[in-house]
Amino acid sequence: MNRIDAYAPARVGSGNFTVVPARHPWRWLAGLGLTAIILLLVVSAVTNPRFGWDKVARYFRDVTIVNGIGITLFLTVVCMAVGIGLGVLLAVMQLSPNPVASAFAGGYVTIFRGTPVLVQLLVWFNLSALYPEISFGIPGVNLDANQLITPLTAAILGLGLNEAAYMSEIVRAGIQSIDHGQTEAAGALGMPRILTLTRVVLPQAMRVIIPPTGNEFIGMLKTTSLVSVLAVPDLLYSAQIIYSKNLQVIPLLIVASLWYIIVTTVFTIGQGYLERRFSRGSSRSVPPTALERAAKFFRVHSPLAKGKGKSS
């Protein structure tokens, strides 16, 4: 306040100072170095014929690959749905005043988070070795485990139940991040527990829950590639089917990788918009969308365009 007042008359008085923008020589040097590395990598990728870019282009939209993407997306969405639904339930159980419920949820998390998901997939796939006939404890129900547990159901069970353990921790952290005063205010208004949870606590917890859930979604997309061990024809297994015939291993792995990158990029953009939606009322400035962020990037990094100029 005082300092600005002291300087202001001088600036207004003489009126022709020049602003010299700060120079960042190390920034430029680091930028140049990294650009050189990128160029080297690109040149080697383009000039090395073993990358087989022509084959990448040929198989990029192969029917088998596209079907594989479908299976991968289907598995991701279904397993995440199972994971989120069950995860919310487990989180609520873990926070419940009933000690048996919270112990059950805690035990579930310990087991499903403590064993490798690949092992879980294999166990589900081989469930018939444990229970040849599944009756769900209901008399009269007798299902053949070998028919019930197809590779696809084993994949959904294995990935979905595993995901639920991780999601329950995310949801629990979200619920616990909400100030206790919110629950009290809802209680004082006569709102029962379920209503308080669904209308007051969870909508606010979403802000905490969504970013890690987005990560889980992207993680799940790639984890689904594990189902290739169960011979579920997802994106990776489809690529494997093709290269086991034509032996073009690297080009087909590149095809699969490119598709994984494309889908995760789309997910990431969607995640940004979702976060915006749920930050409603919580902060004065909503986080920027991907487009706004790109615009800001180019604005900040072109100081020469309007950096020089005279004040006043």
Binding site: D179, G181, Q182, E184, A185, A186, G187, A188, L189, G190, M191, P192, R193, L195, R199, V200, P203, Q204, R280, G281, S282, S283, R284
Partner: protein, 267 residues
């Protein structure tokens, strides 16, 4: 003392007091915060609870709508025992949903407002009447808009709490409690978290509410408000009621040594 002599006279009256505490006790661990509170509040009365922090006044207030469970004594609101269903001579502990149903008659205003930040002001007001009382939307909306007008915030209906000043938020919180059409309003230090220049607007709304005949129990440090608005002032110290009487007398002519010491410190 004062309360003891008042109690038999009050219970002999034909009309039932709205709130009646009989030997209410409450402990947190080994710390006994309420050591036998006897207090009656008549319908339409405004009672201010004063006393140093840690004297148990907020805890007692929170017991009235069962945000805290009492350990001993009985607490009546209207013809119901807080936290219990009275069947003959048996007191059955209430389920959580029954407790919630009983709370709909009691409005509460918190020190830190506790508005729902993800809802607009209007949604904050309408949430509980719609979802708990299951009232019709147009009716609730009309009442909510009316209440916002009453607290002077009709133009903030679509704002989020975050964009309001503390005084405005607290006025919204009062309107939110009133939107449930309660019989009793509890105020837990409603102006303690406010900047000094914002205290007046909240007290004005509370004053209007008191004039309209609402029964109010107010935990406060605002002695001016207590003197001007309260019918009775109750001074609490160390989990007990030390003095209970007309506002004018307790504040200007306290009988008890401790009350005098407290008042000389805050006035």
């Amino acid at each position: 003392m004062t309360t003891e002599t008042m109690k038999p006279a009050r219970s002999a009256q034909a009309t039932m007091p709205l709130v009646r505490a009989e030997g209410v006790r409450k402990s947190f661990g080994n710390n006994e915060v309420l050591k036998g509170i006897d207090l009656t509040v008549e319908s339409g009365e405004v009672v201010c609870l004063i006393g140093a922090s840690g004297s148990g006044k907020s805890t007692f207030l929170r017991c009235v709508n069962h945000l805290e469970k009492i350990d001993g004594g009985l607490l009546w609101v209207g013809d119901r025992v807080v936290g219990y269903r009275l069947k003959g001579t048996k007191l059955h502990e209430q389920s959580h949903n029954e407790i919630c149903a009983d709370r709909t008659d009691i409005g509460m205003v918190f020190q830190h407002f506790n508005l729902f930040p993800h809802m607009t002001v209007l949604e904050n007001l309408m949430e509980a009447p719609l979802r708990v009382l299951k009232q019709r939307k147009e009716e609730v909306r009309r009442r909510a808009v009316e209440l916002l007008e009453k607290v002077g915030l009709q133009d903030k209906a679509k704002a989020y709490p975050r964009h309001l000043s503390g005084g405005q938020q607290q006025r919204v919180a009062i309107a939110r409690a009133l939107c449930m059409q309660p019989k009793l309003m509890l105020f837990d230090e409603p102006t303690s978290a406010l900047d000094p220049e914002l205290v007046g607007e909240v007290l004005r709304v509370m004053k209007d509410l008191a004039r309209s005949g609402m029964t109010m129990i107010v935990v406060t440090h605002e002695m001016g408000f207590a003197r001007d608005v309260a019918d009775r002032v109750v001074f609490m110290h160390d989990g007990r009621i030390i003095e209970d009487g007309p506002a004018e007398r307790v504040i200007n002519n306290p009988e008890h040594e401790r009350t005098r010491a407290f008042l000389s410190a805050v006035l």
